[in-house]
Every structure is written in C-alpha cells, then in structure tokens.
Amino acid sequence: MQEVVRCVTYQPLRYSTNYKSAEPPLLVLGNGDPVPLPGPGRISLTFAMHYAIVRATGRRGPWRTSTRGYLYGLDDADGHEILGYHWHPYGRSPETRPHLHLGAGAGVRRPELTSAHLPTGRIAIEDVLRMTITDFGVQPLRADWQQVLAESQAAFERSRT
C-alpha cells in the first residue's frame, strides 16, 4: 500500500494494531491532515482505511488483509471537499453501502447532490489515485505509476471476497 500512495505522495502510512478495540484497525495517510498532491490541480488527499487480518485458503492464504471500510477524500485548494468516497459499514451512520459524496468543492448546483449518498461499488484506492493523475492534473512521483497501480489493484481483485 505504501508503494501505491507513493505514486502521488511521499507521506507515510500510519497504522494501528489495537486489536483490543471494538473498532477495526486503522490505516491513515500522514497525520490525518489532507495531503497536498503535486501538480497544477492543487488538490489534497485524505485517506483512511479500516482493515482486518483474516485467515485465507489456497492462493489467498494463509493470511490476507481484508478491507472493512474506507474514506477517500479529495479537497480543493481552499480546503473544500470535492468528492468523498465512503464505506463505513460499522458505526452510527445508517448508510452502510459504499457511496460517493459530492462536496462544496465540486461546484454542484442541485442541493440534493450536496447531501446525497451516491451508490458506488467498493472503490479501490488505486482507482482514486489513478483518477487524480488522469483527471485532476496530479503529477505522478514515479514513472512506473501505471504499473504499480495496476499490479496492486490486480492483487486486490484476486484476493477480495
């Protein structure tokens, strides 16, 4: 995962392994602040992921990381959220399916869209990072970014349930 985010930032991933907590362990980028991404788009990335280490069989085994929730946020230069991909099946929100929020930074005019939970499938961080490069002008920090993202995402797709 660190190699994946290194396509757009040198910020380290930080993780908790507090397995005594009722909450799933956490992976977060940097210190949790939105991380400015390189390039003229002047956008920032917020990344948090809940995960679990679970037993797996066959090619996926003996252990694998299972995603249990995520938040991927993109902010504009003024700190307004452009979009946020959320999946939080645990906790107090009634929306437990993966979904997308369009924020104030997206410039939408219909008021319903600023509060809507737009259904999505589960979104891989690789897709979001690729989008920041191809659609938001983020300058990749490594020449092999396409290969890194593709290989990581393929591995995720092979192991996901």
């Binding site: 977060v28 959320h86 107090r92 920090l141």
Partner: protein, 70 residues
C-alpha cells in the same frame, strides 16, 4: 519525473502508531474539523450527538479515526 529524495524515502516507510500517537492524531483531527478535543468527540459520538447526520464529511473524517481511541 522527480526521483525520490533519500530523506523522503526513509520517512515514507509505514509507521505503527503508539497509543499516544494515535490519541494525538485523533485529537488533532477533531480540533481541525469540529473544534473539539478528541475526548470530547468520542464522548459526543458514542452518546449519539452526531446521529442526525453522521456522514457529514467533517464528522466522518474524524469518526473514521475512532479505532485510535482504543
């Protein structure tokens, strides 16, 4: 394409958060997004004070960090 600066390469290794670091991170983000301490957020969240709209971006960005509260 810029090469990875040596300092950045070293600094970019994944880092396991200590309990204290985790609480500090949670506190920082609670103050950033909601103007309250991490402890105040945890208490407010668990008592349902955000239940009317828990999915607001500023709330969820902090709520995702609840595993750090232990």
């Amino acid at each position: 394409m810029p090469s990875v600066p040596a300092a950045a390469a070293d600094a970019a290794a994944p880092h396991e958060l200590s309990r204290e670091e985790g609480l500090a991170l949670l506190d920082r983000q609670a103050r950033r997004y909601l103007g309250m301490s991490g402890d105040e957020f945890v208490q407010a969240w668990r008592s349902g004070q955000f239940d009317q709209d828990p999915d607001r971006p500023e709330v969820m960005r902090v709520a995702m960090l609840l595993p750090l509260a232990g």
